[in-house]
């Protein structure tokens, strides 16, 4: 049986990491952990692609295609011919 959430678009290159720890702080699903002076990817499949880590990584060590994981927003975008799905809930 397909598990649609097993893989995602998160890519991390530990080389440029300066160990600031912001990715660990902003991630709501504990995807990163600090190991000495480097961040390590420990729970990659838990990533929900919110984009917080990428946005706050000053070294550009993280890449992720972020967006809303919301089916109704994507259906609405498809129906109205919009490219990017945005949520409009409260």
């Amino acid at each position: 049986m397909l598990n649609a959430y097993e893989v995602n678009t998160l890519v991390y290159d530990p080389n440029p990491c300066n160990g600031c720890g912001l990715c660990v702080a902003v991630c709501p699903h504990a995807v990163f952990e600090m190991d000495g002076r480097k961040a390590v990817l420990v729970r990659s499949s838990a990533c929900m692609e919110c984009g917080a880590c990428q946005k706050n990584c000053i070294m550009n060590a993280i890449a992720v295609e972020s967006g809303v994981g919301c089916a109704s927003a994507m259906i609405r975008a498809a129906l109205t011919g919009k490219k990017e799905a945005t949520c409009d809930c409260g």
Binding site: M1, L2, N3, A4, Y5, E6, V7, N8, T9, L22, V24, A25, V26, C27, P28, H29, A30, A46, C47, M48, E49, C50, G51, A52, K55, N56, I58, E65, S66, G67, V68, G69, C70, A71, S72, A73, M74, I75, A85, T86, C87, D88, C89, G90
Partner: protein, 331 residues
């Protein structure tokens, strides 16, 4: 003469308090049931909580009353400034995803409120869930203010403020039964009329059992699904929904054999199939739509799920309805 007093006068600082009134709670109730959606907002700008002085901390939040009230009620008894961003009445996390809770808006508000003259320190405490819209290093570069990401939940702030470090638990987003149950009323309100209409149409097509089947399928997707989410088998919302919808359809599938023992066998089986095909599709579709309310589904995952299962929903639903129509005419 040009009136420059509006430009030179110090920007207004709105007073606020940590105690919530019954009026606030009524507003929260209305927001939770989806009444006047998008109107639960307050004036963006700088607010003074209690009696802050230039050393008092500055917290940043959205101009959605549920967000603002969660923050100020958690800080009851503290003296602080609250910088309210214009997120158009949207909560912090969703607004951060859209970018309205974002670097630009923070920079604009810090400058407009002349925060640098109000406080002597240079630190903003942001909710962790604002991070998808904010680049901390850019805020520093553009305003001189350091961004500190506080805990996910405002409730944890008093504990957090003792050391300014968040525990692992404070950094994690949860989706407990209570969180999920709170989301049910909005969807019930929003699906009420369409469901009533569908039930009415189905009454003339297949009688009250068909009406009840429609209501049951929607109820399963809107109420039972959010509550049972972690205990339903498989990982995808669609397959979980199909499973739940099939369970809900079982009594309806048995009904023609019990209610119409005199019918020919293929008529009984045909009607059983109507329910087994159409009902799970409806529940699965509503379940799939719950991805946006959940706290953990990724965009690429939802996309994969949509491509994999929406065609199946459309086919089974269409076949079920077609079968119902055909059987009505044969009869």
């Amino acid at each position: 003469m040009i009136d420059i007093s509006s430009i030179t006068a110090a920007p207004k600082i709105f007073p606020t308090q940590g105690r919530l009134t019954s009026q606030n709670r009524w507003d929260h109730f209305l927001a939770r049931v989806g009444v006047k959606r998008g109107e639960h907002r307050l004036e963006p700008g700088l607010y003074a909580l209690g009696n802050p002085n230039p050393d008092s901390p500055v917290f940043v939040t959205a101009n959605y009353t549920l967000s603002f009230d969660a923050l100020r009620s958690s800080l009851d008894g503290f003296d602080a400034y609250i910088l309210v961003l214009d997120t158009q009445g949207i909560n912090v996390w969703c607004a951060a995803g859209k970018g309205t809770f974002g670097t630009q808006e923070i920079v604009r508000r810090v400058i407009a409120s002349r925060l640098g003259e109000v406080v002597s320190h240079r630190k903003l405490i942001l909710p962790q869930l604002g991070a998808p819209g904010v680049a901390a290093h850019e805020v520093k570069k553009l305003t001189g203010f350091w961004v500190e990401y506080g805990p996910v939940r405002a409730v944890d702030l008093p504990e957090y403020l003792k050391t300014h470090t968040a525990t692992r638990e404070m950094r994690r987003v949860e989706f407990h039964l209570r969180n999920r149950a709170l989301l049910v009323p909005v969807d019930v309100v929003q699906t009420f009329l369409p469901t009533l209409l569908a039930a009415l149409v189905l009454f003339f097509l297949g009688g009250w059992v068909s009406s009840l089947a429609a209501v049951t399928a929607v109820f399963s997707g809107i109420v039972l699904f959010p509550i049972l989410l972690p205990w339903l088998p498989t990982h995808n919302f669609s397959t979980k929904g199909f499973f739940l919808g099939a369970l809900a359809a079982l009594p309806f599938a048995v009904s023609p054999f019990l209610r119409h023992p005199g019918w020919v066998w293929w008529h009984q089986v045909g009607q059983a199939l109507e329910f087994l095909l159409a009902m799970p599709a409806v529940t699965a579709f509503l379940a799939l739509n719950f991805t946006g309310s959940s706290t953990f589904t990724s965009r690429s995952g939802v996309k994969r799920e949509m491509f994999a299962f929406i065609p199946g929903m459309a086919w089974t639903f269409g076949t079920g309805i077609l079968l119902a129509i055909v059987l009505v005419f044969i009869r």
